[in-house]
Symmetry: C2
Subunit: 347 residues, 2 copies
């Protein structure tokens, strides 16, 4: 029925092994035969059968992405798909395919075991939200090439990648200091909100390095909701002398914070500067457009893919952690306090 390597060999007047060698770019074949074979392939419209190649090479050139694709996931967590898109980018650049498979905490272990045992894929990329303890030990025990997308919340030996929230915090604080802000406040999530906590830590670090300090009255921690962001901003402003800038640990809190400032009659950035992390989901809705530390989600995926490829290339190397860094995007919710200059561009 369809044209095989035999047909090409016959047509080119060589053996199948020679054809195979030119397909796979071996050196050690004369220019002349390489050309004859290429011509034959072209004439016959030959494409190597992927399944046969996989079978013969005992490799699939595909990696499985495991995540919980429950209802409305794309609306609730677009970040995850942006990461996945980044992954696809670096994987496909090296000829790897990506299969996307939905799992839950309850079945991720057996699904993973099956993927590994059946040799269905060459590697795994697993979203941190479905990582369980048994899965983590399966991963390290089997030594199967893998990367976890996001930092696991428990101690483990798995290989993971995440963005560096501490670093993002230092970027935020350094930027504000460089713009002439001096009384900086932070409102964020509770201690168990790792992202918020790490960002706060980074803020503190940066301030310390410049001999500034984050006063206790300028740190408010609560729920990551609009309402609590509102409450915290309001209570802080009622209790304390006004800070000149507020760093909000995330978008949702920033939303509440901005509402509170507006309701209290403060103008942003003239009375108070506001800065947060990550563009989504508010950047298109906020007035003024927010200065943010962009967490570069897609790049996280790209780096995850590259790390996975590196692991695939050198099975021996044992790297555990990869981290990506972020950039500041200056918009209109902050200004240069020294010069009074403000950004006018909108995103």
């Amino acid at each position: 029925m369809s044209v095989t390597i035999k047909d090409v060999a016959k047509c080119a007047g060589t053996s199948v092994s020679t054809v195979s060698k030119v397909i796979n770019g071996y050196y050690g074949i004369s220019e002349a035969t390489v050309e004859r074979v290429h011509k034959a392939m072209k004439d016959l419209r030959y494409y190597p059968n992927a399944s046969a190649q996989n079978f013969a090479t005992r490799s699939t050139k595909t990696v499985a992405v495991l995540a919980n694709l429950s209802a409305d996931i794309a609306f609730k967590n677009p970040h995850m798909f942006e990461i996945i898109s980044g992954l696809e980018e670096s994987l496909s650049a090296k000829g790897y395919r990506m299969v996307l498979q939905s799992v839950e905490e309850s079945n991720v272990y057996e699904k993973t075991e099956e993927l590994i045992s059946r040799k269905s894929v060459d590697a795994l990329a697993i979203h941190v939200s479905v990582i369980t303890h048994p899965l983590s030990s399966l991963l390290t025990r089997s030594q199967f090439p893998h990367i976890v997308l996001g930092c696991p919340s428990f101690e483990s030996q798995v290989c993971w990648i995440d963005n560096n929230n501490v670093y993002s915090g230092t970027i935020a604080a350094s930027y504000l200091l460089s713009m002439g802000y001096e009384k900086i406040a932070f409102i964020g999530g509770q201690y168990y909100d790792l992202g918020s906590t790490n960002r706060l830590q980074g803020v503190k670090q940066a301030l310390n390095e410049r001999n500034c300090k984050l006063e206790d009255g300028y740190i408010w921690l609560g729920e990551s909701t609009r309402d609590d962001g509102y409450r915290m901003a309001k209570q802080m402003l009622e209790a304390q002398t006004k800070p000149d800038a507020i760093i909000c640990a995330n978008n949702t809190i920033a939303w509440g914070c901005l509402s509170a400032l507006r309701d209290m009659g403060y103008s942003v950035p003239d009375d108070i500067g506001v800065l947060t992390f990550d563009d989504y989901p508010l950047s298109q809705f906020m007035e003024p457009p927010l200065t943010i530390v962009d967490i570069n989600v897609r790049d996280l995926g790209v780096q995850a893919g590259k790390s996975l490829l590196r692991i695939l290339r050198h099975q021996n190397t044992q790297i555990q952690t990869f981290v990506t860094i972020s950039n500041l995007v200056e918009r209109s919710s902050t200004k240069n306090k020294k010069t009074g200059m403000r950004q006018n561009y909108r995103h």
Copy 2:
């Protein structure tokens, strides 16, 4: 190295073909041997090699999803990923895998040709945004199992699936009529905005069937931007006698419309009811929560997967078009004009 079907056969004291038969659920094997084989598989922790199965059966049990995964795509178009998640749901339910591959208009033809020729996958699901004319004819010429996610903007013989926007329009209008609204207005996108145009058509249909009519002055078409939504709503209210409800063709326009109503001092729903389509991206930000016609994006993906499986099962059947329907979600931007009752639940 790893355990194969031969090992299982040996362990169970049978032949490989018998083992193969029990793996694939053949009848015509005695209970006793089935059990022996199962025991052997379990004891040896045997999992069939996926590549070998694919090769032997000349099928991959996987479908490729082709879409443009460019930067920020997950934020700009979460709907697409929700569709893809739905697809995964119905495909994995029948043992199919889904590989996600990024393509562009410029390379989708060759990528598709390669996938088909190399028999890399059993079927294709292609997002409408990357459908080109040559691709469309490749699809019909090759008769390769496929489904296009979304209705192509040009005439073609490809098999596609989309949500029924005309129907959504009738739902919107029927609902408003049933709530006692009588002077209904529509603001939407230009004629080339197929979604908007079809929704408008549905609205007209529903009104006609009840012997109502959409007055010319109550139809405003413009750009799908917040600003233009604002402009249209405002100009309509300045020019016409006030409608009692406005149907906005999409979220963005609804956003502008609500702002205009607020600025003009109208209260929603007491002075004017507002209804739009699709929850995303405004539902969490709008005050009051909007009554919407939910377009059920995930279900579109689920149905796409089921259709694809049907096509895979009966290569002969030639179905071209599938359509999914939508539901109304009643919230606080409309009320029952007859009873004065309003919904209080928030989404």
